[in-house]
Amino acid sequence: MIRKLFDIIANNAVPAVFILISAFAIPLSGYSASYLIQELLTRIGRNSFLILSLLIPIMAGMGLNFGMVLGAMAGQIGLLFICDWGIVGIPGMVLACLIGTPIAVVLGIFCGHVLNRAKGREMVTSYILGFFINGVYQMVVLYLMGWIIPITNPALLLSRGYGVRNAVSLLSIRGILDNLIPTVITGTQGAGQFLNVQGGNAFILLQMPFLDGTIRIPLATLIVIGLFCVFIVWFRRTKLGQDMRAIGQSQAVADSAGIPVNRTRIIAIVISTVLACYGQIIYLQNMGTLNTYNSHDQAGMFSIAALLIGGASVSRASIANVFAGVILFHLMFIVAPVAGKNLIGDAQIGEYFRVFVSYGVIAIALVLHAWRRNREREAARRSLRGNRGGE
């Protein structure tokens, strides 16, 4: 009984702590409800896709795919090309995806092969692999682009004539998906009408009298994310998904049943990498600027932290974990700086929190995972003995 209670607490400790922190910090920050909802919606649209891309490798028992930064880099290369070619709007985004996909596939296959050689140590391997590929990426972007790879737009290139600038403006696609279907929730006018927002007409989806402003909804992005969720639900029901679950639980058994373990693991990583590529493109179209040498860096870390905060573990994660994680993680980021400022008079505390919490949560999740696995192993040993012998 006590053990069971303990399990429940241990399984949900992380989300519980975050709910608690937010419950204190929200009133302290003094933000209005509409501001908070707006910010959260923006961040859900911005980050969910990236986080969702982590689910499939977890299902296949490969842990948290720190290697998703490989996909992020592929997406950024796609974006650099469309900026150079000056293709704007939705066609630009689609083209960036098309360019990024083959790169992500190749990187994913490579990553999958490496991880098959490092079974049982996938997470640390993919983490370090991320650094290694980052080096390759920097070489391509810093030296080859504009020299061997044709990039001509002077706004992209460093003044020396080759290599891409650190900051690349993505104004040409900024918010293009978010605002594809302009929609708002407002407290002032009735639902079903059009409202003039920033020079365009936006459809009023809902009227909520208690709101003190208008909230813009990134509807198209949310639809894309919804489609992705449908994809994952469908994927779990396929033979391939079933195979991945089997491999995730026992590679040896799956292998002896004739499931091609290595191949399936590679497929899992390729899917994850390609989806991370799309996720990064969606993320950057929302941000509007590309930090050529940094943007991908934090993508993996923050996505993984968010997923874990949502209550996922290294071996088990669901769609619900993704959204719970995005909301809790970012809610804290939004309110913590102001709460910190109001409380201690220092806004830096928020940024400090952001980094501290991300790494801390990942560390806790990894320790919990190892601890739980040990306990499971012990329980399995005990069960072998049968019911004799106490304890």
Binding site: T238, R245, A246, L384, G390, E391
Partner: protein, 563 residues
């Protein structure tokens, strides 16, 4: 059991691993619907035979096998398990190959799931089709039903009692439509008696439907009840192939352990002179009336009560025994039944519980340091892993434990500043190198460079340096050649005679135990099946190993009619 073409025919099958012969000249037939019992000790060649029949890569990668296999009269040579599967050969392994988080249905149909047709599958492969859960459940229920048991197909395997898991494994093989020959490797080992009965009934039913079954078990009563024919393997040879009715269990046991009359005279004087209490205090509490009560004053050196040990693969469930001072006590039994778990558990290397008394005082379990501190020494079966520091010189290896636990071979002030006394270490090492005639270049040679037999002697020396009251030795002769074997065993015997040290030897070689020990306990399924004086006939030990614990001792007549 038609007499035309047998389902499978083995013709003079043999196998060598790197010049080491493990199987020779095995020939037999199996007909449809027949149940064959395959019996043999560890190392008799059972698993090699299975590997050959199942096309395991170990066989083909080590040069294939001799002889030929015919299925339905056609010559086959499997190089992968998938080919064997295609011919309808199914296998239920000893350890469960089930996925714990999956339901019964998902496990039974693992990688043979029923799929919904999908247009996507033309573009990619079948793997993107969704599963048809309903049809899957139906098929799984059908397979479970054939076995005559009632298991909810939606139950997760992790929540099932052990017995169910075995049925799921078998159901998985039955579901394969073409399965005609089913191998079951120790299927009842993990089952309770009632579950084993259900399983046996299910297998009989299965055989009636025309599936041939090869039943591998060490529980002779089950083999005799279930099987039509019994094959006994020993040392890679087919000793007997007869109808089950023609054999008594005692015969089977003696075929299995064999070597009845060879070298039986060796150490009996040692036994007698040791004033051993023979089988006075024995057993796991079931029987054993004390036979001769005259020598009452002997204290047990080690008393073990209800010991359990969670050693993976060698689980000890409930073991009680006593070892007298100055005795050499043997622990034997088949691999995987827990004999290695006993010494490892007493020494605290694996989680354990129960009560262990050393000279009347309770020993703290789960702490190797406590056991070592009570002057117990241990020679591990894992020589290269636990026993030795392979990359360190011999003198380090020999004195290491004494240095760590007894503070010997050190100079300086304890707890403040101490350094190794290299001179004393080297001298001590040299002493044992001479005494045990360890072949090496000197105390500075690294342990990893020695041969297996000499490494074993180093392990023994390391234990002797501790000047133990009780010495536990696991598998002293595993993996060393015959010449070295006798040397090692002689060393143990001499040490016992010289110092009166109580020694407990665990070994899978019964003959070896019978030649060195005064008494031998046989472990079966994590429990002590019985303790016999080493002079008892080999088939008595064989009976204990094969689960006939109830009728041990000298009542030879009673044995016959236990079926």
């Amino acid at each position: 059991m038609s007499e035309n073409t047998p389902l499978i025919r083995l013709d003079h099958i043999g196998k060598e691993f790197y010049g080491n012969r493990v199987l020779s000249d095995i020939s037999f037939d199996i007909n449809a619907g027949e149940i064959i019992g395959l019996v043999g000790e560890n190392g008799a060649g059972k698993s090699t035979l299975l590997n050959i029949l199942f096309g395991m890569p170990v066989i083909s990668s080590t040069g294939g096998h001799e002889g030929s296999i015919y299925i339905d009269g056609k010559y086959v040579n499997f190089t992968s398990p998938n080919q064997a599967l295609a011919y309808g050969i199914g296998m239920v392994h000893q350890e469960f190959s089930l996925i714990p988080g999956f339901t019964a249905t998902e496990n039974i149909l693992l990688n043979r799931e029923v799929l919904n047709g999908s247009s996507m599958s033309y573009v990619f492969s079948d793997r993107v089709s969704t599963l048809n859960r309903e049809a899957m459940n139906e098929r799984a229920s059908a397979a479970i039903h054939t076995l005559g048991v009632n298991i909810n197909p939606d139950m997760a395997v992790s929540e099932m009692p052990v017995g169910y898991k075995q049925f799921i494994e078998i159901a998985r093989e039955i579901d394969r439509k073409n399965t005609r020959l089913l191998f079951l490797d120790e299927p009842t080992a993990v089952l309770a008696e009632s579950e084993a009965e259900i399983l046996i009934a299910a297998l009989k039913k299965l055989a009636r439907s025309g599936i041939a079954i090869v039943f591998i078990s060490h529980r002779l009563s089950e083999v005799k009840e279930l099987c039509h024919r019994i094959l006994v393997l020993r040392d890679g040879r087919l000793i007997t192939d007869r109808n089950a009715e023609e054999l008594t269990m005692r015969q089977i046991a003696s075929f299995m352990v064999g070597r009845e009359s060879e070298r039986r005279e060796v150490p009996q004087e040692a036994v007698q002179q040791e004033e051993a209490p023979d089988e006075t205090q024995t057993l796991d509490g079931t029987s054993a009336p004390s036979v001769k009560k005259k020598k009452k004053k002997i204290r047990p050196a080690l008393k073990v009560e209800h010991l359990w040990v969670d050693m993976p693969g060698e689980t000890v469930r409930d073991v009680s025994f006593e070892v007298m001072k100055g005795e050499i006590f043997g622990i034997g039994g088949l691999a995987g039944h827990g004999k290695l778990g006993i010494p490892n558990g007493i020494m605290g290397l694996y989680p354990s519980g129960g009560k262990v008394r050393l000279f009347g005082k309770t020993l703290t379990l789960n702490k190797p340091r406590a056991a070592l501190g009570r002057k117990m020494a241990f020679v591990s079966e894992d020589r290269r892993g636990v026993g030795l520091l392979l990359d360190e010189p011999l003198d380090w290896n020999i004195t290491f434990t004494a240095m760590q636990t007894q503070g010997r071979f050190l100079l300086g002030i304890p707890y403040i500043f101490q350094i190794r006394n290299e001179y004393a270490m080297r001298k001590e090492a040299q002493k044992y190198i001479d005494r045990l005639s360890i072949k090496c270049t000197g105390p500075q040679q690294h342990a990893g460079e020695l041969s297996g037999g000499n490494q074993q002697k180093v392990c023994l020396a390391k234990a002797f340096v501790l000047r133990p009251d009780i010495l536990l030795i696991c598998e002293p002769t595993r993996g060393i050649d015959i010449g070295a074997k006798t040397l090692v065993l002689d060393t143990i015997r001499e040490y016992n005679k010289e110092h009166g040290t109580t020694i407990i030897i665990t070994s899978s070689e019964l003959e070896e135990l019978r030649s060195v020990c005064n008494r031998v306990a046989i472990v079966d399924s994590g429990r002590i099946a019985g303790i016999l004086p080493a002079s008892s006939p080999a088939e008595d030990f064989g009976m204990l190993m094969t689960g006939q614990a109830a009728n041990n001792n000298e009542d030879e007549e009673e044995v016959k009619e236990s079926a």
